[in-house]
Structure formats: C-alpha cells, structure tokens
C-alpha cells in the first residue's frame, strides 16, 4: 500500500528550557538515540533542535504507518531512529523563502535517517533551518517520487492552518491531477485523502502544521 508521512516543527514555538530537561526529552529520545547527537557534525545543531528533529522524524513515521494500520497510536519512544546521517560540513541557515517545494531530496542538504518500529523499517529525509524542521518518511531510500512543500502562513489558528495546508497541497496536486475535479478530505480515522466524484484517488498525502507553518508530502 502506498503511503507517505511528514511533519513540520516551528522552532520559534518550542519551549527551549523544557526541551532540554531530561524529564521532557526522555519521553521522545531513547538513550541510544541521544548518542546519535554525539556525532561531530551535530555541533552545528542545538540539542533542543535535535530533540525536535527526532520528534518530527518519528511523527512522520507514525503518519506513514497510520495509513496502513489505522489503530496505531503515537508514542515517540516506541519509534527508534537507528541512523541519522548529517551532510558533511553542515551549516545551519535561515529559511529565506516564503515557501519551498521539491521532489526528492537529491539536490538539497537533507539529513537522512532510518527508523524502525516493530518489524517495519522506514527512511527519512529532514531539512533544518534556524526557524523550522521538516521531515518526510518513505518505506525505501528512494524519494524520487516523493513531492514535498513548506510554506509560511500569516496566522496560527487551527482552522486557518488546516485550510492553508490543504490549499497549498491542492495547488501542487493540480499539476498532476488537472484532469480530475478533486477535494482533499480526511477519512474516519483522520488520514488525509484525495477524493474525486466517484471515490478516492490512488495518491497518498500527508499534511502538517505548526504555528505559522504548513507542509505537505505526497506520492
């Protein structure tokens, strides 16, 4: 079954003091995952951002698997990030655009991860800027058919976030599905779906928002 999962974190909205407390981060990271932070290249990334990076990878993995197993519950510590490779010479930069879209992650300095939960193994690509973290998960290392986008929005109220996220995704999908009248909806368990008049289209989509940011992924 085709699926996708993504997540976005606004780093301006996180509670830095709380994130650095062991009581907090130990509910997200296992001791083994904390050791990943000791890689020399992570010196460029503050610890609190590392914690939220792993959160975003795990939440993306959860969304990927929830489409396949609707009864799945998100407990971050049960998702295990086994590997996290940061590009050599990685430097944290500002997110200069108002929106950024891509297909795959071949020409962009993404952090690549491997996640397991039970018998499932998934792969992630994450982008980190000073203002945000975005992650996208797939069931193999090849992301060349995975489309993704990040956009700044004006307000952070949940209804506006939801509307803007769907609008942003619909604009990109239009390029692929222009021969259909479609709407983006959510099924009974909250999984986003793309519907045409007589049923669901075979495209897996994922939406996320946090504060003044929205993001999508699909394939």
């Amino acid at each position: 079954m085709i699926s996708t999962g993504n997540d976005i974190i606004s780093l301006n909205a996180i509670n830095i003091t709380r994130t650095k407390q062991e009581k907090f981060y130990s509910k997200i990271l296992s001791p083994t995952e904390k050791e990943l932070y000791s890689q020399a290249e992570f010196a460029a990334i503050p610890f609190e951002n590392f914690v939220w990076l792993l959160w975003s990878i795990k939440e993306s993995a959860y969304k990927y698997l929830k489409r396949i197993n609707p009864g799945l519950v998100f407990i971050p510590i049960k998702f295990s990030v086994k590997k996290l490779l940061i590009p050599h010479g990685y430097a944290l930069t500002n997110f200069e655009a108002t929106q950024l879209e891509g297909t795959g992650f071949n020409n962009i300095p993404a952090l690549k991860g491997i996640i397991t939960i039970g018998a499932d193994t998934l792969y992630s690509n994450s982008l980190i800027y000073r203002e945000l973290i975005v992650s996208v998960v797939n069931d193999n290392e090849n992301f060349e058919n995975v489309c993704w986008g990040i956009k700044l929005i004006e307000r952070a109220d949940p209804e506006y976030q939801s509307t803007e996220a769907r609008k942003f995704l619909a604009e990109r999908l239009q390029g692929f599905l222009h021969f259909y009248e479609f709407v983006i909806s959510k099924n009974a368990v909250g999984i986003p779906t793309v519907l045409k008049e007589d049923g669901e289209l075979p495209v897996a989509v994922s939406l996320s928002h946090h504060e003044g940011l929205v993001a999508y992924s699909f394939q």
């Binding site: 709380r18 509910k27 959160w55 998100f74 407990i75 971050p76 510590i77 949940p158 946090h210």
Partner: protein, 85 residues
C-alpha cells in the same frame, strides 16, 4: 479524588495548549485532545509532564499509549494515583 475533580483540573492543564476555549469549558470523557481541542501533537508531551507534576505520578509510555481523549486521560491519572496509595 473523583473523576469530576480530575476533569475540572485537567481544564487548567489543557488551557495553555488549546485556543478552543469554548470546547475546553465543556469537555467530557469523549472529548478528543487532538480532533476536538485542536491540541497540536507536539504539545502532548507537555500535557503528560504537566499532569505528572500536578498529581505527583509517573506516566510511562504504555500508559501514555492509552491517552486519546479526556476519559482515557482521567483513567490513567486515577490508575497512577491508586498505585501511589
């Protein structure tokens, strides 16, 4: 401590993480934290830690697994309070 007392205290725990104040005022066992209160999933760990501090309990991940709505949240808190007796 009764379920009603815990429910009323949970309103204060949830308050910083929801903008849906009308829904918060009328929460019941079936109120879903994410779908109804529009609490961002990134704040669920905050809520667990705030509840742990408020009731001097520890919510392990197997218990956190059960927290989906207000009712299951109260169940977990009552279970942990009883274990502390």
């Amino acid at each position: 401590m009764t379920r009603t007392e815990i429910l009323n205290e949970l309103k204060k725990v949830f308050a910083p993480y929801t903008t849906n104040k009308e829904m918060l005022a009328g929460i019941n066992d079936q109120t879903d934290l994410i779908k109804d209160l529009k609490i961002n999933s990134a704040n669920l760990v905050d809520i667990i830690i705030d509840a742990e501090a408020k009731y001097d309990i520890e919510i392990d991940y197997d218990s956190a697994d059960k927290i989906i709505n207000v009712g299951t949240c109260i169940d977990v808190i009552m279970e942990k309070l009883n274990q502390n007796k």
